[in-house]
């Protein structure tokens, strides 16, 4: 009984209907929402793309990266610099994606030689070094004051307000990025990432070079970070060294885990967490912002280790358990327990011997 709605969602016509509905909502809703809602949604879109990039390298390929915000900041700086130099906006977009990608590739070539958490500790260097570097290169970055660039004004022919036009841009560019990434991680590259995440030795024995796929995942993540940086300039129109501070970097990581690792929908939820929770905690009590954020983060991890995206699954499991209450069926429970054991496989730890 409980599986019926799940099966309904797997039908092709149902999926197409949902896609059409989502696109229709994305076209209509910005026209009716107030400006503040549109701006908030656009910011969520920006950081959803940033979280998506982090998800590629961390959620799918299993390499903890604390440097994703650096690529967002780099993309934003390239955009701001290009706009102030009056370059063609298409060229600016391409550069704001390619330059972070190239930097990401160079960093990955060195960082991917490391295993496990060492990558986390190397990528932490990116925001830490990035902030003073941005202050130093004030010729290009405007130093501590930062750069502002206003280029995403609604054209007069469209008859839209600026906030609507910006939200459409975010939805279009972000939507294409999400679609491309979804196709990437659902195809053979996604399977290669999964095996690299699961066990590198096995990956190597199956002809999947862990090194090459780690570098690939990292580079794709920095390209997506660049897209997010461009969108950041579309919406926020201002960037400073603080954009890529260490604090933002760890908040981004927290957002990804809270939204749900290795999940496309989880990236959107992560973007929403990144934007909405600081607003919420500020509204409750500005003195307690950090305490509340820490508590929320730990609470979500305690209740939903799989992130917000696993909420329906958890509810469904609780639902079936309570319904089965009087008449528990031992075989299925034993099976699920075995699956749990297999997930937290203890053999991985023997490597330290």
């Amino acid at each position: 009984m409980s599986t019926a709605p799940a099966r309904l969602f797997e039908r092709p016509w149902m999926r197409w209907t949902i896609a059409v509905v989502i696109v229709a909502l994305a076209v209509v809703l910005p026209l009716v929402f107030p400006a503040f809602t549109n701006q908030t949604l656009a910011r969520i879109g920006v950081f959803a793309v940033a979280v998506l990039g982090l998800n590629v390298v961390m959620g799918y390929a299993g390499q903890v990266s604390l440097g994703q915000i650096f690529f967002v900041g780099l993309g934003a700086y390239v955009t701001a610099y290009g706009v102030t130099q009056n370059w063609n906006i298409a060229l600016v977009f391409v550069l704001s994606v390619l330059i972070p990608g190239v930097v990401g590739l160079v960093v990955a070539l060195a960082a991917a030689r490391l295993g496990g958490l060492a990558i986390a500790m190397v990528t932490i260097a990116l925001p830490i070094v990035g902030v003073p570097l941005a202050k130093r290169l004030s010729e290009f970055t405007g130093g501590s004051q930062g750069l502002s660039a206003i280029f995403a004004k609604a054209p007069t022919w469209s008859g839209l307000y600026d906030d609507q036009w910006q939200l459409y841009l975010v939805l279009l560019i972000g939507g294409i990025t999400f679609l491309l990434t979804r196709n990437l991680v659902h195809g053979k590259y996604g399977r290669a990432f999964a095996i690299v995440k699961g066990n590198q030795a096995v990956a190597g024995s199956m002809g999947v070079s862990p090194y090459r796929f780690k570098v690939l995942a990292f580079t794709v993540a920095s390209l997506i970070g660049g897209v997010s940086g461009f969108l950041y300039m579309v919406v926020v129109q201002y960037t400073s060294p603080e954009t890529m501070s260490f604090g933002s970097s760890i908040t981004l990581l927290a957002s990804m885990v809270i939204g749900g690792a290795a999940s496309i929908l989880g990236s959107v939820l992560g973007g929403a967490y990144y934007v909405l929770v600081p607003q919420l905690t500020n509204a409750i009590n500005p003195n307690l912002t950090a305490v509340l954020q820490g508590v929320i983060l730990l609470a979500v991890l305690f209740i939903l280790p799989g992130g917000l995206v696993s909420l329906p699954r958890t509810i469904r499991r609780l639902w079936t358990r309570t319904r089965r209450g009087g008449n528990p069926s031992p075989p299925t429970q034993a099976a699920s327990r075995q699956a749990d054991l297999a997930e937290g496989s203890p053999t991985e730890r023997q490597g330290q011997a």
């Binding site: 490391l114 190397v122 070094v129 760890i250 305490v291 820490g294 730990l298 330290q352």
Partner: protein, 293 residues
């Protein structure tokens, strides 16, 4: 020449603070396979506890020892009631838990003691001594001495006592240790407690120099992580040597390389890491991890 010696001694002194924090990180990593990003935040909390005691007219040395004991308890409690739940699961989630802990601890410190700078008294007199014509502060020498003593004590604990043997056994293989009848859970608590106490020492040593704020340990934490990678996760001695190397090199680079200067000296350890890792991915002193499939 005088400046050079002064820079080297000061570098060794800041390096010693990084070393204390780095040793704490290695201790936790060896016991539980995690990197605790909250180690610095917990050290700040310990420093605030010591400061509260000093303001109650407790002598500084006793205040630091009491705060070490309190940190030991706190570390053990955090392991038992927070980290235990995540140790067997996805390591990425566990890392994010420590990041949540960092946010929480920093937030609590800021809530109770505010973000304003507080003066923390130094363990050592502010006088200077002259070595080979260089003027060197006593507090630098004292900091170095404290770390050397701690290292000797840790080595003695791990190599010379039954508790140390048990801790090493749990670190190497928790399953086999449990089969041999060792209280694995309690030993993990001891490991986290020891790390927190070490962090308390680092906090007390660095607070007089940086003046105490809730974010004080953020940049020492980054240097400590750099030292951990450079020295290799598996080698406490290597980590201390790497921390000293980082402290000295960044001091020298800040003064002698005009492009680096004081604002970019944080890049020095990471440039060093890049160069070293291209040659020795397991770190300067680390062993290669062998993975059984």
């Amino acid at each position: 020449m005088g400046t050079f010696i002064q820079l080297v001694v000061d570098g060794l002194s800041t390096g010693s603070v990084y070393a204390a924090l780095a040793l704490a990180i290695v201790l936790v990593n060896q016991a539980t396979g995690l990197v605790n990003f909250a180690q610095g935040g917990m050290a700040v909390l310990s420093a605030y506890i010591a400061l509260e005691l000093v303001q109650l007219h407790v002598p500084l040395a006793i205040a630091i020892i009491v705060s070490m004991a309190a940190s030991f308890l706190l570390g053990a409690i955090i392991e038992r009631y927070l980290m235990r739940r995540f140790e067997r699961g996805d390591p990425d989630t566990a890392v994010v838990v420590t990041i949540g802990l960092l946010t929480l601890v920093t937030g609590v410190c800021a809530w109770i003691w505010s973000y304003n700078n507080q003066q923390f008294p130094s363990l050592f007199p502010s006088s200077t001594v002259s070595i080979l014509g260089a003027v060197v502060s006593v507090s630098s020498l004292g900091t170095i001495l404290v770390i050397v003593v701690i290292m000797v004590l840790l080595q003695a604990l791990f190599l010379g006592t039954k508790l140390g043997l048990a801790l090493r056994a749990v670190a190497i293989n928790p399953q086999s240790a449990a089969f041999s009848g060792m209280p694995v859970g309690r030993l993990l608590m001891v490991g986290w407690g020891l790390a927190a106490a070490l962090g308390a020492v680092a906090g007390a040593l660095v607070a007089p120099q940086l003046s105490l704020t809730p974010n004080m340990m953020d940049s020492p934490l980054v240097y400590a992580l750099a030292a951990v990678i450079l020295g290799g996760m598996t080698s406490p001695l290597g980590v201390v040597v790497a921390a000293w190397l980082i402290g000295v090199l960044e001091n020298l680079a800040a003064v002698y390389l005009p492009f680096i200067g004081y604002d970019l000296k944080v890049a020095v350890p990471f440039i060093l890491i890049f160069v070293v890792l291209l040659v020795r991915p397991q770190g300067l002193f680390g062993r290669k991890a062998v993975v059984r499939v």
